[in-house]
């Protein structure tokens, strides 16, 4: 947003609120196996905590927290985590995204599926967070230039 004086009260409130939203988003991602939630909701919560700082402060402060040229590489890394896990399971002898075939030593079938879903959801959450922040940055950048 351009040419608006940043209120210190609003900035302090969103600075207090944003880390708790971020911690809750990480909790939702990491507990997505046996409670409601998962990669999409957790990634959206992470994006909401970033967008809160981006709305309440200007571009200069929000660039210190999370630069806008980081969004597209992080989205690509998330997609590569997802498809990489699927393709590793495919080449290890199973189907695509067949978590039971992941070649991680020392784990049996149930634990393999547990960790496979966790890795998949980390990728999904990273991609959703980066893409939502990227959409916001593109909309605001159209205003500034």
């Amino acid at each position: 947003m351009k040419k608006r004086v940043a209120s210190p009260i609003v900035l302090l409130g969103s600075r207090l609120l944003s880390p708790y939203i971020m911690v809750f988003g990480l909790y939702v991602i990491f507990h997505g196996h046996y409670s409601p939630g998962g990669g999409f909701q957790g990634g959206t919560l992470l994006a909401a905590s970033l967008l809160l700082i981006r709305i309440s402060s200007g571009r200069r402060i929000s660039r210190i927290q999370f630069s806008d040229y980081l969004t597209t590489p992080l989205a690509v890394v998330g997609v590569l985590i997802y498809f990489g896990t699927g393709l590793v399971a495919l080449f290890a002898g199973g189907y695509f995204l067949d978590y039971g075939q992941l070649p991680i030593p020392g784990l049996d079938g149930a634990e393999l599926r547990y960790w496979g879903i966790l890795i998949i959801e980390l990728g999904i959450g990273l991609t959703v967070m980066a893409v939502l922040v990227s959409i916001f940055d593109d909309m605001v950048r159209g205003e500034d230039e």
Binding site: Q41, A48, F136
Partner: protein
């Protein structure tokens, strides 16, 4: 919930419409949670009441506040 939907459709100020749409989305999430679909309600609360409101407010800041029809 129906009241907020009608206000969101009939308001002339678009910021009022966006806020009413967010309240509608939040009540919808509460309804989903009450009916047992916690996952759907969670998604609705996060996406509908959070990110959509932010993106619509940004869109309003780039265009106009008032409807023309």
């Amino acid at each position: 919930m129906l009241t907020t939907a009608i206000i969101a459709l009939e308001a002339d100020d678009l910021l009022i419409a966006v806020v009413m749409l967010t309240i509608f989305s939040f009540l919808n999430a509460l309804l989903f949670t009450t009916m047992g679909a916690v996952d759907v309600g969670f998604t609705e609360a996060v996406v509908g009441a959070g990110v959509t409101g932010i993106l619509l407010v940004v869109a309003i800041y780039q265009t106009t506040y008032e409807t023309v029809d």
